[in-house]
Symmetry: D2
Subunit: 151 residues, 4 copies
């Protein structure tokens, strides 16, 4: 993220739960490694939504946050029917980039850790500045905590 | 399902919620049609789990219920960030086959209807009878209603 | 497809090959049932492309063909690393609907049969007529046969 | 990969082609970021197969190579119907770990670069040494070059 000034943000986190489906597994009997990126996305979306700034709203305001890097380190496998926890936090917030960090765990045991980096671009695809209102929302504590009931 | 005797079962249903992710959409801006089969699976798994007979337990008892037919009729599209409801019910229960039926809706409006048919096979891949305990569980009302908190 | 006049079209077919990835399998050790819909799409796209009318071109001309029904019957499973053949053909062609039919096989043995039905809609989402040029292309033999080299 | 002795291997590469499906895209109109991990897998599998050591054979010999880290850097997006090239090479080969590197490009322009790291484990899940025959195969040039015809 080069010469950008960046702030280390306090590590406020958002945690969601998910159930492992057959669709998520592979023939090794465990969750296919790319599936975790889907849960990273779910965690990141919940992080934003609970701060009053859903990613749908962000896009409707004309700003997009495409993934420019994704990384996952696999410590232990998740299995079919497991209930896993996905914790997402904002790692870094720059003028034109964001970094989210993730941990996926089961019963308190970490399974996967990772991060995604995001550019901030306008509808025309050009880099733009992170809108001040969005920055403020992301740096906040969870302000809403509406949860869907899912299983 | 040919000459099998089948019982029409009362239409006890299980409903779960799910949030539409970017991962689920396609470039038409709506949910990709194959994604709904994933939600059918989630609904079916919840149906069994809430009747005390999770599909993981079923498999551990040596019985598998592979999908032998899947069908979906698409009425209206779901969009990114929508919260959809998945309702699953047992349509037919035969000696060696099952049929589940599904409706996916948003705000009470049906989006997709479908069904899956399942064979009942043993660990060696041969057709077997549906275990009596499983049949009884499936014909029951929801006996547990533990829900994960997810968003 | 109701009161529409439909023509039975000659069963010209297009066949492509695909390799089964780990990503496609589930913990039963076989291909996850929803994965086949992806191959149906690949077969359908090749069918159109080889008749000089790629689906990208169709969309750029302002017409979309969303899936309004999908069906698959599973006869035998495909396994990891298998090379499977996907055969797609146009089943029915109406004024405002299409039906494609599929067979997925391995070494000449059918594994999965299915179909998709498609509406014909304009960019504003309203039903429209199938453009004459597209209809003509779809009813043709393969006119191009460019193949990508993939494994 | 810590204290392990590792050999830098010559950068023999294997390249395959793939066609972008609707299934691969998201509502931003481009390929969903997790989809590239699927193509990494396809490239890695082809790399092994063309050296006479398909991953299916490897597993049948009792050795598994689960992904322990995955990374992707996204430079430019791929779009629906694009034909992309996936180049896979062996980056590092240690006693009990492997690293593959990938580049996905279109018309010679790099779109995504990444890597995966793999443990070498036995059927019981314990770390084991990379079998000598597999190591030799991986360090070879392509010895077979059978390609499926796909589009």
């Amino acid at each position: 993220m080069g010469e950008e000034r960046q702030a280390e943000v306090p590590f406020q986190a958002t945690t969601i739960a998910a159930r492992v489906l057959y669709a998520d597994t592979d023939r090794m009997g465990v969750v296919y490694h790319a599936t975790y990126l889907r849960w990273f996305e779910a965690g990141r979306a919940a992080f934003m939504r609970r701060r009053g700034s859903s990613y749908r709203d962000v896009e409707e305001s004309g700003v997009m946050l495409p993934v420019i890097e994704a990384n996952a380190v696999y410590l232990k496998p998740a299995h079919y029917d497991d209930v896993i926890r996905v914790t997402a936090r904002l790692g870094e917030i720059g003028r034109a980039q964001l970094r989210f960090e993730y941990e996926i765990s089961k019963d308190g045991v970490p399974l996967v850790r990772g991060f995604t980096r995001h550019a901030v671009i306008a509808a025309d695809g050009r880099p733009t500045r992170l809108p001040a209102a969005l920055r403020e929302a992301l740096e906040n504590e969870e302000t809403t905590n509406e949860k869907d009931i899912v299983d």
